[in-house]
């Protein structure tokens, strides 16, 4: 097989092989454009002016478009490109890219690791080896309108209505609680209360806004319903457990809400920006959303309607308590790099508190609890990020494996179909489990 391909290629015009001559002292970091790269640029500037100068190393960013980023990175790495020495890695693509990366345990010794939240390191570890310095952590919050929930907790008329709706829709009378103590049912009850479909006097049109587009990130958001009820991707026997009772419960949480019109009908095709838009416009009272949204939602210049009224709570609790999916963005080392020595030095420096402090001040969210606490005044959500990551953060079994993205894909496909009413629950779970088994074996 190999011979046929090689001969065909040589039979063409084999000119000199393309080599990207990496000049000694020049390190290239592959990244995608956006707030992360803007923040990272400040870190790199600090490096180039400081330790980089001492070591004679300059680091530059190379940006690949976010559209098709993973496909491009895949093609480049698979072909052994040495155009970049360091690359962006994420939890869910770690398994896919690990064959092309060098582990960085040597560059990031135990003392350095100690500064990072353990689950963040775990989210970039595969087979016991660390493949990336976690620079950004993503965790989920339950966002809610403080003003409205405060009123709910003090207004007896509202509480009566709340109890009546809960009785009618959920079968039992319920009393509103503080969001920090919400179970999934409490959240559903609150969402129903804050929807005009069930409560014509509701101050918001929808009680919540869900993200149900056929997209892997939406599964990451959803799977807290799975894990907080004791579920996981795989059972103890290593076989798919996605068709278990926890998944069933979790899927039904979303379905109940969309059927009751407690979330905009367009939620079927929503992802991050659309959900934000709904909350920002004051149309939804609560929202399950990534931590990155808080900054924008609390900024009076960007969100005049809701700034200052945004409360944060952990995702509602299931039988196993509160849980939140966690994943990290990190910087890894390209195996095919022609400048590993210098690149390794950069990696080692990135794992220091100095580097991560610059990153945090520039807008990033590094999983270093000390730094997060220290910046509470500038970024009020930071302490919560640190806290939630530690207490509730989880990485699903197999979340960093090579089959992670394919599994997320099949879950996104089947579950979004169920939520859109295309297939029923049993079919969705069955096909999801089958699809998962296929991808894992594949």
């Amino acid at each position: 097989m190999t011979n046929i391909l090689r001969k065909t290629l040589l039979a063409g015009l084999a000119l000199s092989a393309f080599s990207s001559a990496a000049m000694a002292g020049e390190v290239t970091l592959l990244f995608w454009p956006g707030p992360e790269s803007e923040a990272m640029q400040k870190v790199l500037d600090a490096y180039n002016a400081g330790p980089g100068k001492a070591d004679g190393i300059t680091v530059k960013q190379l940006l690949f478009s976010r559209q098709g980023y993973f496909e491009k990175e895949q093609a480049d790495l698979a072909a052994g490109s040495s155009e970049f020495d360091l690359a962006l890695v994420t939890t869910y693509t770690l398994g896919r890219y690990a064959p092309y990366l060098d582990p960085i345990d040597a560059q990031v010794p135990a003392e350095a690791k100690a500064a990072f939240a353990p689950v963040s390191l775990q989210s970039l570890t595969l087979d016991g080896k660390l493949y990336g310095v976690p620079t950004d952590i993503s965790v989920h919050f339950l966002y809610y309108r403080k003003d409205l929930v405060d009123r709910l907790l003090s207004d007896t008329e509202w509480q009566k209505r709340y109890a009546a709706i809960a009785k009618e829709k959920l079968g039992r009378e319920m009393q509103p609680k503080a969001p920090d103590d919400w179970s999934w049912d409490d959240w559903i009850a609150a969402a129903l209360f804050f929807s005009t479909a069930d409560n014509p006097d509701s101050p918001t049109r929808f009680g919540t806004v869900l993200q149900m587009k056929n997209l892997i990130f939406n599964i990451m958001l959803w799977q807290a319903t799975l894990v907080s009820n004791g579920g996981d991707w795989l059972g103890a026997d290593g076989k798919p457990a996605i068709d278990g009772p926890a998944a069933r419960t979790g899927l039904q949480v979303y379905k109940t809400l969309i059927d009751a019109k407690a979330t905009p009908p367009g939620s079927i095709s929503y992802e991050y920006p659309e959900a934000n838009a709904a909350f920002q416009a004051g149309q939804a009272a609560t929202m399950l959303q990534w931590n990155a949204a808080f900054n924008e939602l609390n900024d009076p210049a960007k969100s005049p309607t809701v700034a200052g009224k945004v409360g944060l709570a952990p995702l509602p609790a299931g039988s196993a308590g509160h849980k939140s999916h966690v994943h990290s963005l990190g910087i890894g080392l390209n195996k095919a790099s022609k400048n590993k020595g210098d690149a390794g030095k950069v990696v080692a420096w990135l794992a220091t508190k100095d580097a991560m402090t610059v990153y945090a001040q520039a807008g990033g969210t590094p999983p270093v609890p000390e730094i997060l606490k220290a910046m509470a005044s500038a970024r009020p959500e930071f302490p919560l990020v640190g806290d939630f990551v530690d207490r509730y953060g989880f990485v699903v079994t197999g979340g960093t494996a090579a089959y992670a993205v394919p599994v997320y894909e099949v879950l996104a496909e089947k579950f979004s179909a169920f939520w859109a009413g295309q297939i029923d629950l049993d079919t969705a779970l069955k096909q999801a489990a089958e699809g998962m088994a296929e991808r894992i074996k594949g």
Partner: protein, 295 residues
């Protein structure tokens, strides 16, 4: 008037060579390796970690693909999509031609405005539509609500229609242009003669215009059908093939299988199947068209 096979008396001996040669050489050099690679990939199991070392599995990939309901779903979607949008474009294009020909004939520069939609990259167009279709800040739902429509344009009931409408809006100008040319090339004398004989507008249309437009409709339909069968960009950006796999075109299926599921072999095999179908269909069509032009 069609040229016949065989060399003409004064044709140079090497004419065929230097006329066709560069093209053939170019295709061989540039497409040679990729074509062979793809053929090999379609018959192998190959991973991204081993792009140079595929493992022979014979026709397994083809069998996998043919047995995959998602494949047939994608084929079904692409076929339905292509038929619907092509028909719509031909109808709309033709209607616009009939309505606007006198206007355009006098002021040709007006055409530029009708061609503008084609000049936008479909990928970017999809991104902008995300903004326009946004429930809260988008203009399209805003106006639809004014006429009493309150559904969601990307849900299970409307997704197909939405992506189809977007396609029709962007490419109807192509059909309009093609059909307008053919229409304007209809000899005026024919129409004159018919009118002198007392034929009404409808008769003129049915007996003269329509038959003369059929070849143009066929070619335009053919080109647009192939293009819309391959649709990818705007649907991928807007719905990702969803909800579920409701709007998964064949190109999206292949793209997903290739990059996201990393099943290179089956993805290429599916493309080969598509190529096969295209060859057959084109064969039939060309036979028809050649027969027609000889008539």
């Amino acid at each position: 008037m069609a040229s016949t096979a065989g060399r003409r008396p004064y044709e140079g001996r090497w004419d065929g060579l230097w006329l066709l040669g560069p093209l053939l050489l170019f295709l061989a050099l540039l497409l040679g390796f990729p074509a062979v690679a793809n053929l090999v990939y379609s018959l192998s199991e190959v991973r991204f970690t081993g792009l140079w070392s595929p493992r022979w599995v014979g026709l397994d990939n083809y069998a996998t693909v043919l047995a995959d309901p998602a494949f047939w779903g994608a084929v079904g979607f692409s076929a339905r999509f292509a038929i619907v949008v092509t028909a719509a474009q031909l109808l709309l294009g033709f209607a616009l031609v009939l309505a606007l020909d006198p206007l355009i004939a006098k002021r040709r520069w007006l055409m530029a405005f009708l061609l503008l939609p084609m000049m936008v990259s479909p990928a970017l167009l999809g991104v902008m539509y995300r903004l326009m279709l946004n429930d809260f800040v988008g203009v399209i739902p805003q106006y639809l609500q004014l006429v009493g429509f309150s559904g969601n344009l990307l849900d299970a009931d409307w997704a197909f229609t939405t992506v189809a409408v977007i396609e029709v809006l962007q490419w109807t100008p192509f059909a309009f242009l093609a059909l307008l040319t053919a229409y304007q090339a209809i000899p005026g004398e024919l129409v004159e003669a018919a009118r002198i004989d007392g034929a009404g507008s409808w008769a003129v249309f049915r007996r003269i215009t329509l038959p003369l437009m059929v070849p143009a409709l066929a070619i335009t339909g053919f080109i647009r059908f192939i293009d819309s069968f391959r649709v990818f960009d705007h649907i991928y950006v807007l719905t990702g093939g969803g909800p579920g796999t409701l709007t998964q075109s064949l190109s999206i299926y292949i793209y997903r299988t290739f990059f996201q599921q990393e099943r290179i072999g089956p993805a290429v095999a599916a493309s080969m199947l598509l190529l096969l179908a295209s060859i057959v269909v084109l064969r039939l069509l060309m036979a028809q068209m050649l027969r027609g032009s000889r008539g």
